[in-house]
Amino acid sequence: MSTTTPLGPVNHVDEVTGLLYIEGQLEQAAARGVVAHLEQCGPCRQLLDALKRESLLLSHSLTEEDEAVPARLLALRPSPGLSWGWLTVFALAAIGAYTMWTYYVEPWVVNLQDSGFGGQFLFTWLLLNGAFWKGWNDMLQFVEMGSLGVLACVLLFLFRRRLRRISSYSVFLAALLLVALGAPSAAQGSEFVKNKTSYEVRAGETLHTDLFVVASAVRIDGTVEGDLFCACHTLTIEGHVTGDVFAFANTVLIAGKVDGNVRTANEHLTLEGTVGRNLLSFVSEFRTTHRASVAGSATLYVSHMELDGQLGKDLNAFLGAGTINGLIGGDVRIHQGNEHHTPLVVTSVASVKGGFRFKGPQGPEIASQAQLASTPQIEIVTEPPEYLRGTSYRYNALVWGASLLVGLVLISLVPGLMRDAVREVARIGAPLALGLVAFIVMPVAACLACITVVGLGLGIPMLFLWLFLIFFGQVFAAIWVGELIVGASSGAWSMTGRLALGLLLIRLGALLPYVGFWVRFGAGMLGFGALTLLLFRRLQPVVAHPPAALPAAPAA
């Protein structure tokens, strides 16, 4: 650019050249020319000073921390997606889950269906259709639906950006909502009674509703036209319950009539009356009299059984010892525990219309006059010590593999947490004590939380965490054991190696006679406690660290 000054025409530094000069991008000869010109030209010096200040303004403005970095970004560490390795791992896990379902879970589900659960999976039934929800009044039902809606909105809001890209989330959320919508609705009305010393429905009195009762002694002499949910010390039913009976009690006596199913977890159960459908009981001592009648099947997990009266369908029992006196309309399937040495007795008045299958350490004593429709199938299982059983090794190999898989996933996803958890395990005393406490307190707290709608969101994850820790708490202890033997781990793969070694030792220890259980239990509790301790510490409020600093000051 050329202009006129009091001294005559001067070739000024143009703006591009000026910019290149202040940014150190000019070649040496050109830069020397600019320097020479600047020595005698005030306007150009002023221009270049202004450009420098503009550069500083730009740098300052662009690098200024004007807003916080999203917490999601600071917390996450995205991975490039599924690799073939992971796909293989997931495929193997899926095959393992399928195998476990087919060989271990499904037979139990079939048994439960036989006992009157109508094809619903126990857990679903328990949480969505069972004691916690059924029978709540309309207002609570409305709150539930509202809560589900709010939860769905919150989830949609949280995942709104992911939903744009990842259709699987959409599918998952849609499925979740469908499940929520498909969940059976609550009963029309109900009566809640709690914290009473005793509660009684008198003879001639009729309750046209479900009844929830928590009391020391409960007595039903009248009629309950609905289900009865009872947590008490003693439950006596002399009257009539038209629905199901759910009882958590020390002693239960049913001398009256129950039209639906009876499901109990208790110490003593005596049945003198009639049950219209099926019976499921986890009980120490079970007794039915000759007047008793169960129209459906009975599934019992019982220490001692005295079975009399009539049973319309099958008897499935896992028992210690017992006597069968009565009439059984269906099959008998009995599995006697290995540690029990008193034989099952089938008396001369017993009658079984279906098959008779028995599995146990010693054969049952079947009276010659007993009426069995078919030849009994008796399988005597005399199990050697655990360390001599092939199944024990297979089981331990399965647990070893599953734990290693879970450990691998955890090490890959949360290596920092794993390191910290292993450090906590090394303190031994505190995590072990806390593990024992948490092992007992967590399920209680979770169940209490589940009583309220709001608490469901906390209670259910807590239950899952508890179950997870029971099975996989040993992962943390295993890494620690591995590190004790071959030294501290320095990376993910070395940690995995120590995990594999530690797990192997723990599983071998679990096979030892007498101490095997305690090895397993101790490892689980150590890991349980360590993770609880760690989570507790991490959830404590801390002074937030500033986000990562900005880029350095710009080059002038």
Partner: protein
């Protein structure tokens, strides 16, 4: 020695070692890199893209790309420049997909002569500006101008690196930067809502 654009405590050697371990598949090293660059990279995206949500998404996506491309990284080159180049390319693609990118994506650089500024007036204008005012004005610039300024004054990339990232000849980088400054001055001199003349003129063509 710290690498430029690498703000935190990690020195050049340490960064190089971390990158090398990460390339070898060490997840902890990758975690260190992530923690090191999550905030700067988010701010880079925030400066270039229109909304905070876009920047957050872009930063996540860039990290995913970085991890998968890490094996292609040439350790002889500065890591941060490579990182910001990947980020710039990604943000460039985001803008193009949204079809809000203007016709500045060609390699052609506008050769219209720029009006020579009055140094006194320029000086006065600079003293009147605040950081937030400049950032708001930056959002109204054409994409290439905004990207050029961010690459130079945020990511501190060299002219060669900017030329590489923007697909320009190196000789044009100074011109692009100066034109961006002129656009910015126009926006700063005008009330919000009015498009800068240069951008408007290019949009009309």
């Amino acid at each position: 020695m710290k690498e430029k654009g690498n703000p935190e405590g990690m020195g050049g050697d340490e960064l190089a070692a971390t990158v090398a371990r990460s390339r070898a598949g060490d997840p902890e090293a990758w975690g260190d890199l992530y923690r090191q660059f999550a905030a700067p990279l988010f701010r880079f995206c925030r400066r270039v893209l229109p909304t905070r949500e876009d920047a957050e998404d872009a930063a996540m996506d860039v990290f995913v790309k970085l991890r998968s491309k890490l094996v292609q990284y040439d350790p002889e080159r500065p890591f941060t420049a490579w990182l910001y180049k990947v980020a710039a390319n990604h943000c460039w693609d985001v803008l193009r997909r949204r079809k809000i990118r203007q016709n500045l994506e060609t390699e052609e650089v506008d050769s219209l002569p720029l009006e020579h500024p009055d140094p006194g007036q320029l000086d006065w204008m600079i003293t009147q500006q605040t950081g937030s005012g400049v950032r708001q004005a930056l959002a109204r610039l054409s994409d290439r101008s905004r990207m050029a300024l961010v690459l130079r004054y945020y990511a501190e990339m060299s002219y060669d690196e900017i030329a590489d990232a923007l697909g320009l000849r190196r000789a044009f980088v100074g011109v692009v930067l100066l034109r961006a400054r002129h656009e910015l001055r126009e926006v700063l001199a005008k009330p919000a809502g009015a498009p800068p003349e240069a951008a408007a003129a290019r949009g009309a063509r």
